[in-house]
């Protein structure tokens, strides 16, 4: 099928884009890479009255490593630019690791880092990664801007706190302390296919004990689920196999709400989470021990 008619605006600067969004209000919809939005429009599941295209705004595309170890990523930075950036790989190896699983190379060349997060697809990798990394997200509107943490930004499937007159402008990733390891694992039927379930973890060690852990469970609820149980069970403790098993069980039994669909049953997704949590945490811990 083809998209329904819509009005089209192609601003060339951020102020012009914000003016346009402000004028359009509920009629306006930002288009970034379009790799999810145009597909949804082709199916007529999405019928925006007007598109505000950010592809002609070069100032939104950048990767800025800061002296404090953080990295700022402009919203229109293509996923494959992030995937192959040396500085990103050095500071946040989780990003190139996960990028390989995001659709296909042709999609990653066009799809954007900020667009994927703003889209908040519960089966998308980047919203989950933003949550597990506790990314700081800059939201801008005409004459206003605010910072939101990724876990507070995403409030439902394809739903964020971004208002119709606002856009996601930048994502800032805070540096990991030494002895931090991270990992992403998913189970899907083919390369680039949607995951039936996935897990991302970041573990910071203090000697033999866990100082901090962030574990996100993906494709098993309406939003990326940040595990509280992992924190309760592991922080301040040695990550013994028994402790990891306890986390796996707790995640699978009480923290997720998986659905049954044509791709997998809820029970199967629970089983996947039980297995992936243990494996991912084990891998993150091994990497943390090496210094991260």
């Amino acid at each position: 099928m083809k998209p329904v008619k819509f009005d089209y605006y192609a601003p060339t600067s951020v102020p012009e884009a914000l003016d346009t969004l402000n004028e359009l209000g509920y009629d306006g919809k930002v288009i970034a890479g379009g790799q999810s939005l145009i597909a949804a429009m082709n199916f007529r599941m999405a019928r925006p009255a007007a598109l505000v295209d950010l592809n002609g705004v070069p100032e939104l595309s950048y990767i800025k490593p800061n002296p404090d170890g953080s990295i700022a990523i402009g919203t229109m930075t293509r996923v494959n630019t992030v995937e192959y950036d040396q500085e990103v790989a050095k500071r946040f190896p989780l990003l190139p690791e996960v990028a390989k699983f995001i659709a296909h190379p042709a999609i990653r060349r066009r799809g954007t880092f900020g667009g994927a997060i703003a889209h908040a697809d519960p089966a998308g990798q980047l919203p989950s990664i933003a949550v597990v990394m506790d990314a700081n997200v800059l939201i801008r509107g005409k004459g206003k801007e605010r910072w939101v943490k990724a876990p507070e930004l995403i409030i439902g499937p394809f739903m964020t706190t971004i208002e119709p007159d606002e856009m996601l402008a930048e994502v800032v990733l805070t540096a990991n302390p030494p002895y931090t390891g991270s990992n992403y694992m998913q189970v899907s039927r083919q390369n680039g296919g949607y995951a039936q379930a996935a897990v991302a973890s970041i573990v910071n060690l203090d000697g033999e004990k866990v100082k901090n852990v962030r574990l996100v469970l993906m494709s098993v609820g309406e939003v990326p689920i940040l595990s509280q149980k992992a924190v309760e069970i592991l922080v301040g403790q040695k990550p013994t196999p028994e402790a990891l098993k306890e986390v796996s069980e707790a995640c699978a039994s009480s923290e997720i709400d998986p659905a049954t669909d044509i791709h997998a049953t809820a029970d199967y997704r629970r089983t996947l989470i039980r297995t992936l949590v243990g494996r991912s945490l084990t891998e993150s811990i091994a990497r943390a021990k090496k210094g991260g």
Partner: protein, 160 residues
């Protein structure tokens, strides 16, 4: 009245100027406005890869872009490769290795693989399989396509 937007785009080295609706997909623009029917349209949601073209030298889905977004940019379609008398080495390899049956997916495979082989002239079988993981072929079972990629890589590197 339907609003039209000017599009000026270089396709296979030639500049085309048209006025189109914002909702016209790049894939439909190439086929219906320019008559370049080599770009095939399969799923229209980015899964099958049949509509893959080069956008400023990189493989993208032409069904997931609007024609207006291509204005000022350069596109290459399968028509830019070889002619029936003088096939591109990759097309020749597809022909010799029987890497196509119905041929519907072939333009997408070719346009995915041309930039891949430029960046990676000596791919392993594993890398070749990864390169085409975003293209669906319902005829061949992929074995012959992978053989053709390796064969084309050999031929192209010998020629240089």
């Amino acid at each position: 009245m339907t609003k039209l937007f000017p599009v000026s785009v270089k396709v296979n080295g030639k500049v085309y100027e048209r006025e189109v609706e914002a909702r016209m997909l790049l894939s439909d623009f190439l086929r219906h406005e320019l008559g370049l029917m080599g770009t095939h349209v399969g799923c229209e949601h980015g899964i099958c890869g049949a509509c893959t073209v080069l956008f400023d030298g990189e493989a993208v889905r032409s069904c997931l872009m609007f024609a207006v977004q291509a204005s000022g940019h350069e596109i290459q379609t399968v028509e830019s490769l070889g002619t029936p008398e003088n096939l591109h080495p990759l097309q020749q390899a597809f022909h010799e290795k029987h890497a196509l049956q119905c041929g519907f997916c072939t333009p997408g495979f070719l346009m995915t693989l041309v930039p891949f082989l430029e960046k990676n002239p000596h791919p392993t079988e594993e890398e070749a399989r990864e390169a085409i993981d975003g293209n669906i072929c319902r005829c061949t079972g992929y074995e012959k396509i992978v053989e053709a990629v390796i064969d084309a890589a050999d031929k192209m590197s010998h020629k240089k």
